[in-house]
């Protein structure tokens, strides 16, 4: 068995996300690497939510369509996911509510309503009960579930445990999940990894207006504010968010913001100001299905060119798109370092799959991340905020600096920071800003901005969250995967190098026009075929497998 997939489904309000995380933790304690996909509509109660938890003995970052176990808290879960059942799949369900007549699969019904009634437990504990049943069915020791629940359930733990135990006792062991001899890794979402990366690199302020799929980073930062001395602000709108970040930067505090496409639209005037005023800011831009409100809780990669070109005028920016939790952690911290090293906006271009997807986080898989010290003013002579230099980077000073004046300006300005319309200064200041881009491009040559996996004459060219599915499927077909991590400044040299012995390039993206392909084409990279998905769902392993078979055939 290369992996084991469990789906848990119910209505919004059943705690399906948390239940999925609990299932993930159980497998994690058995030594498996986890990936969880959480699917939910944009509503608070009702609807149909489900989590797919996939466990493997290898690092994974994608889900499979077919399930080994389906855990059903309502009838909908059975009806909507029947097609995911294989001959040897197992269904665990609430027998007080659900009928599974006609299903040929092995199953185990638990009298959950009765158990909750007996124990006088609230409805939210149905998932504790059914997860208790899962443990028994799958031969997972009770002690593991008890430990996981005790650690992670803050309220009414005794009652939760009693309900889970009743579920456990009502079920029958039907198969056994082997325990693997691997370390137990923490499991976290991409947003949590981004938060930790920013913290590690010395973030001091996080400002955001809630918007899926970035909101959980705001939650994470607010919850950890006191641990790390963070200023966390939720202001009136994204316009204020973007401007506030730059006030923090002006005063010398490293700041980041988070949003999705709609909020980013509002941030663009501020983004352009960051470019002109040379103020460092990090933006988490979590893509979801557009245009406009689109599918608020589903994924997409439709904003690449928007992010690359957002804001009036021309100015350098750093854009990186992590493909899993380790990359999210490392490159979020790097984005903060780059923003301050070059005094530019740095964008973490993620999507719902990475932001809210759950991954086993292996610290060893993440590159070593350090807080970098930006170029500070040495205190000699008169301070000029926009002093010319070879790299275009002017040393930083912040108010109050005794006897000195720190002036930043959104207008074209001279070295001191006073507005000007002088043609010479206008063009030389533009050159100064683009000197920073050249310096950044050469600095980035030391980093793996383009990652290559496997070998083969055919390559899948991809970015962001498609990484997991691409690597896994490419292995089966004997293909190379070229995963472009940094999108601005575009690592053309590295990409061309990676394509040297490649005969055929297949572009894989979650958008309808092939935005990375278009970007690569600007650098004379020829794309032979495209596999594009734009239904709001990430590529599953089978999805990509089928589409790739068609393309290659």
């Amino acid at each position: 068995m290369d992996s084991f997939s469990t789906l848990i489904g119910g209505i919004a309000g059943d705690g399906i996300n948390e239940a999925g995380v609990t299932v993930g933790r159980l497998f994690s304690h058995l030594g498996y690497r986890i990936h969880m996909y959480y699917d939910y509509p944009s509503l608070i109660r009702g609807g149909h939510n489900f989590s797919i938890v996939r466990a493997s003995n290898k690092k994974i970052g994608a889900y499979k369509d077919m399930m080994d176990v389906i855990i059903a808290l309502n009838q909908d879960t059975i009806e909507k996911h029947k097609h995911r059942l294989k001959e040897d799949s197992f269904v665990i369900y609430d027998s007080d509510r659900i009928r599974i007549d006609g299903q040929k699969t092995k199953s185990c019904g638990l009298p959950i309503s009765q158990i909750l009634k007996d124990e006088d437990a609230p409805p939210i504990m149905r998932n504790s009960c059914i997860i208790g049943g899962l443990c028994r069915v799958a031969g997972i020791r009770w002690q593991i579930l008890e430990m996981v629940m005790k650690k992670h359930i803050p309220k009414q733990i005794e009652l939760n445990l009693r309900v889970a135990q009743r579920g456990y006792e009502s079920a029958v062991e039907s198969f056994k999940i082997d325990k693997l001899d691997y370390p137990i890794y923490p499991i976290l979402t991409g947003n949590q990894a981004i938060g930790l990366g920013l913290i590690k690199a010395g973030i001091k302020a996080y400002i955001a207006y809630p918007m899926t799929p970035s909101s959980s980073l705001l939650d994470f930062m607010a919850r950890n504010a006191s641990n790390f001395g963070l200023s966390v602000v939720h202001p009136e709108n994204e316009i204020a968010v973007m401007l506030m970040a730059q006030g923090f930067a002006y005063a010398g505090q490293k700041a980041a913001v988070g949003t999705s496409g709609g909020g980013f639209c509002l941030m663009t005037e501020g983004l352009s100001m960051a470019g002109m005023a040379e103020l460092p800011v990090v933006i988490l831009m979590g893509q979801r299905t557009g245009p406009s409100t689109g599918l608020p809780t589903y994924t997409a990669q439709g904003d690449l060119h928007f992010v690359l070109n957002a804001g009036q005028g021309e100015f350098p920016r750093f854009v990186v798109s992590p493909g899993d939790a380790e990359e999210a952690y490392y490159w979020a911290g790097m984005a903060l370092n780059m923003a301050w090293k070059y005094q530019i906006p740095a964008i973490i271009l993620a999507d719902k799959s990475v932001c809210e997807g759950l991954y086993s986080f292996c610290p060893k898989d993440a590159d070593e991340l350090q807080e970098e010290t930006p170029a500070f003013w040495n205190g000699n002579g008169k301070y000029n905020r926009y002093m010319y230099s070879e790299t275009g980077v002017s040393p930083l000073a912040f108010p109050p600096t005794k006897g000195q004046v720190v002036k930043v300006d959104s207008y074209a300005h001279d070295e001191y920071g006073i507005t000007t319309e002088d043609p010479k200064i206008t063009s030389s200041m533009n050159d100064k800003r683009f000197a920073k881009e050249r310096a950044m491009t050469s600095y980035l040559e030391n980093f793996e901005t383009v990652k290559i996996y496997g070998s083969g004459k055919i390559a899948l060219l991809t970015w962001g969250s498609n990484k997991g599915a691409c690597i896994e499927v490419a292995k089966k077909f004997g293909l190379t995967v070229i995963h472009v991590l940094v999108l601005s400044p575009f690592p053309a040299k590295k990409l061309i190098e990676a394509l040297k012995s490649i005969e055929r390039v297949i572009d894989v993206e979650c958008n309808s026009t092939g935005q990375l392909a278009r970007l690569a084409a600007c650098h004379d990279v020829k794309i032979n075929e495209k596999i594009l998905k734009y239904d709001g769902r990430p590529f599953s392993i089978e999805d990509l497998d089928v589409k790739l078979s068609e393309v290659i055939a």
């Binding site: 933790r25 304690h29 650690k151 137990i184 890794y185 923490p186 499991i187 976290l188 949590q192 930790l196 913290i199 590690k200 001091k204 302020a205 400002i207 950890n224 504010a225 006191s226 641990n227 790390f228 001395g229 200023s231 602000v233 202001p235 009136e236 709108n237 316009i239 204020a240 968010v241 401007l243 506030m244 970040a245 730059q246 006030g247 923090f248 002006y250 005063a251 010398g252 505090q253 700041a255 005037e269 501020g270 100001m273 986080f361 610290p363 108010p399 109050p400 600096t401 005794k402 006897g403 004046v405 720190v406 002036k407 930043v408 959104s410 207008y411 300005h413 920071g417 006073i418 507005t419």
Partner: protein, 284 residues
Amino acid sequence: MNPKELGTYAKNTWCPGCGNFSILNSMRTVLTELDNEGVPLEKVVLVSGIGCHAKIVDYLNVNSFYSIHGRTLPVATSIKLANPDLEVICFSGDGDSLAEGLDHLIFAAKRNIDLTFILHNNRVYGLTTGQYTPTSPKGFKGKSTPMGTLELPMNPPELMLASGATYIARGYTHGIDLLKRLFKEAILHRGFSFVDVLQVCVSYFNMYETYNKWVYELKDNNSSSYEEAHKIIKSWNYNDSELPIPLGKFYEVDAPRFDQEFPGYDIKSMDRDVMIGEILDNFI
């Protein structure tokens, strides 16, 4: 220090006779006085939006953030949060903060954050050469409203009183002593201070004669009374030109401030890596 030292080499491009000169001169005097009285100049940060008003930051050799149209307050808010020791003074126009950035103005007052906000209220767009603003009187014939505007003006002090500002005053660019007094009071007040300055635009909306005829300075008003402040503020609505226009301090009270209550975590001996390790353990 002497006010002249506060100048810069920037060429002043305001129209001759512009009300902004009075605001600039008053601010120079006040900042000099404050520097001599123990508020060192390097602790002062000026923030502006975009418009004629905003040029003031180029003309003062003081720390400044020349922001974008309507966005003075979010910038100023976070500078204050980042370093509460800084004295942050905002300059904004009526188009700037009452049209483009009204949300920020209401929120700044709602938070009662310790900022000083000077409204260069010329009641017309100057840099874009003469369109109506939120404080232009009804019927104002501007370039975008050649037949006259169809809407009543806003009453900014009334809006500020309702939103939670704790210092509200009005000055006039033809009365520099009062302006200086109000600016100094506003800066020294702890909380959100709002000074509406009737600033004459000589090129597009010259109100000198009307203002000179109708303004009067308040005496002995009880500025700690919300009701009295409200009554004074309502006595002129920016629309009728045949009503007395009160100047002076309308309102001043103490109230909890956002910057004061904002959790400033001063973690000196924090071992970040240990804490990150603990968080990761909690994710197991």
